[in-house]
Symmetry: C2
Subunit: 461 residues, 2 copies
């Protein structure tokens, strides 16, 4: 069959999310209360999340029905098309057959609305009036703003101040969709004021922004907090990507030898790969690769440990690959991959040998982004270029070995709101960031003073 892309009709949209918790070879370690060191229960989370989402967070059901109302809104951009990358294959002169799933077709330009729409829906039915969140580069904040507009919910986004100032387009998207976007640290919260007292010029950080958002949500009966990655229910919602891709690969008459996604908190990666990892658990021969930046090598150089999700230690302790909650990644342009930890589900699957983590330096990713843009027309988000770069590595390896490998990757979003990153690359203003082992060791020390003795579950630097 000759084709460039495969559309699924709306009738083929998956009707259930796939919950990989039901198939984990190793049972998950529970999250721990930061004060007591005891496993947290649903009640501990109730002040900041609605109970229907908490139930999903701890569910062991393999399949969870997607509510009709969520399906209705998924249809704004889903099913997303699956592409055959003939142009890239030709540019690389590789015998590999390369496919990518285009998640850039959502109105926000990335995969983030897959969970934003679900979270907005569950909050709406739970009676939430407003959702509070944080955002770094702005992909998540803009996606949630859009979904809150569709469900007529108020939305407030604490955006890391340096991004707020440097990336006005994402903030403007949020405001166009009716959200309120505040530069963090702000004077609106105790956490923000505390930071500003120490350093009035603080550029902010994701950790600080999380603290502000959680504080506001916890102190407002009508508000809840929302997170765009890391947590189990977020991974769950993203599995529509991989389920669609499986149907589309079947229509194409192919099955991937390799499935690739970039991973910051892990959600777009999990979304594409979890349904394929299920196949792998059932004996299918498929390699799963998670790509992270060399300058934030959570899976490749961080241990599997109990650590906080935020810098100021307000969240539960999560069992995950981490570089330590005080680790400050270099200011690479892939803002969505600058996170010290990794989703617990993804981390455990790395431990179990079902996922192969790889780290790629920034310059290689932008070179790949340019190659892709000129061969396939689409301009990739800086995060997405990591998956593109890994795909190119594997396609060239297939060429060297003379093997017709089938490679599938998640094209998680377009880069049209991130062109400043391409400018830096094209004008020779970018470089790779070395990350000395001492720097990681220093940050990892922060993981030590935890209430539980087994905070280091495994791994070394």
């Amino acid at each position: 069959m000759e084709f460039k892309k495969i559309f699924l009709p709306e009738s083929e949209l998956p009707t259930q999310w796939y919950n990989i918790a039901a198939d984990m070879p190793t049972p998950m370690e529970p999250p721990l209360h930061p004060g007591t060191g005891q496993p947290v229960g649903p009640d501990d989370l109730a002040p900041i999340f609605p109970m229907n989402l908490i139930e999903q967070e701890v569910s062991q059901d393999r399949w969870i029905d997607i509510p009709e109302e969520v399906m209705k809104f998924y249809k704004i951009w889903r099913p997303s098309p699956l592409y055959r990358a003939y142009g890239l294959e030709k540019a690389l002169d590789t015998p590999a057959r390369i496919y990518f799933k285009n998640e850039g077709v959502s109105p926000a330009g990335s995969h983030k609305p897959n969970t934003a729409i679900a979270q907005a829906y569950y909050n709406k039915v739970a009676g939430t009036k407003r959702i509070i969140t944080e955002t770094g580069a702005g992909q998540w904040g803009s996606a949630l703003s859009m979904c809150c507009a569709l469900f007529d919910l108020e939305c407030k986004v604490y955006m890391v101040k340096i991004s707020y100032n440097q990336k006005p387009y994402r903030r403007l998207m949020m405001e166009t969709w009716g959200a309120k976007c505040v530069a963090s640290p702000s004077t609106e919260t105790n956490a923000g004021r505390q930071i500003l007292e120490k350093n009035p010029e603080s550029p902010g950080s994701l950790g600080i922004a999380i603290s502000e958002a959680v504080e506001v949500a916890a102190n407002d009966n009508e508000a809840k907090y929302a997170l765009g990655s890391v947590l189990n229910h977020v991974m769950l919602h993203q599995t529509v990507i991989g389920q669609e891709a499986q149907k589309q690969m079947a229509i194409a008459g192919d099955y991937p030898d390799i499935v690739i996604g970039c991973a910051g908190g892990g959600s777009n990666f999990a979304g594409l790969t979890f349904p394929f990892i299920r196949d792998k658990i059932h004996g299918r021969n498929v390699e799963i690769i998670a790509v992270e930046p060399s300058s934030c090598p959570t899976m490749t150089r961080g241990p599997f440990a109990y650590d906080f999700g935020d810098t100021v230690q307000m969240t539960p302790l999560l069992p995950m690959h981490s570089l330590g909650h005080s680790f400050v990644p270099a200011p690479i342009h892939a803002g969505g991959l600058r996170y010290h930890g990794m989703a617990p589900l993804v981390s455990q699957l790395v431990m179990d040998g079902l996922i192969r983590p790889e780290a790629i330096p920034q310059m290689e990713t932008f070179k790949a982004g340019i190659t892709f843009a000129r061969a396939e027309a689409f301009i990739s988000a800086p995060e997405t270029t990591h998956a593109v770069a890994m795909t190119i590595r594997e396609a060239l390896k297939a060429k060297e070995e003379g093997r017709e490998k089938v490679i599938l990757f998640n094209w998680s979003g377009h880069g049209l709101v991130d062109m400043a990153a391409y400018e830096a690359y094209l004008n020779g203003k970018l470089a790779d960031h070395e990350l000395p082992a001492e720097e990681i060791r220093r940050a990892l020390k922060d993981i030590e003073p935890l209430p539980k003795p087994r905070q280091y579950l495994a791994g070394t630097i």
Copy 2:
């Protein structure tokens, strides 16, 4: 049938372009040579266009085959989805059924690649090594850059200097695709140097940029010039939009009472509407509305006349609605609609009463853009908001009249690279621009000193 959008499979992609020249009720007036006042022949155009495109420009064939190579590249983003705007219908509480064709799914974010890919192809087979063009806000320049990358052609874009400085993202898109983008007026051309000598601080204009591009193309044997709107072959290439929409409306079981597009040079408007105008010529009852900005009211306040396409009077004289080639529109954010003329084909159809032109002020268009973004999620380009605003007017009229009208409009592109325009609106920095009749009269005087006595074909201010 319940649906949100209708995908056509690639096998349903139109295989021919529709040439409305074959069905015009009134024969077209010919373009005239600026020096002699005589009709221009193909040879006059040969220095700047390849002969295969000149043949299309003058063709009277109703259907023109789309080359297989062009079809291959169309499949990167075509067929584009047709949407039912349930969200907007609900927000307006209207009995109207609203549909829109989403041309924002192209990698450049607009309809422009429909003709850019064809023009790149025809230049490639004609042996052109590089294509020279101009761009205002950058939609066309970026689309052509992308298509030149796909055909391995060099591309040079003269971008109006004020936009070059104010809209770096579009320029960066061009550079990412490998094009060279130059601020116009530049010191590279006689035209540019001439302007800069008079005014070193010149912010540039589309007219100046056209002069620079044409000069460079005419003086380089390996180069040709390309235009992104106005000309017959550009309208032709865009008709894939309307042909797809007709198939999709049939699948939806509906036929539009009203078809709407915004019109600057006329190409996205023509692309959607020409196949429906064909139906109308054959007796179908369908209203066709072309929407322009109140501050650049080419069709609603400009006469049908012979005028130059550019400010410095280098192009042939075209029979078109025009405000005069020296007219300088107010600096509205819909840069793609700031053009003094209108495509001759569209102009003639307005004269024949087959198209109803309407002008809408800027503030109303942004209000419509916000309503649309919060109801349908997609953020519209400032040009596209004109079509949205007209759709809202008609939907509210249908509500008033209690009639189930079917409205179809062209969602010609997304606004993610134009967020500064939304910022201005949201922060109360935008206003409507009054356009006194004296100002138009002054600009229209420039049309007078033409070699032919019938330069005013019809119309008044």
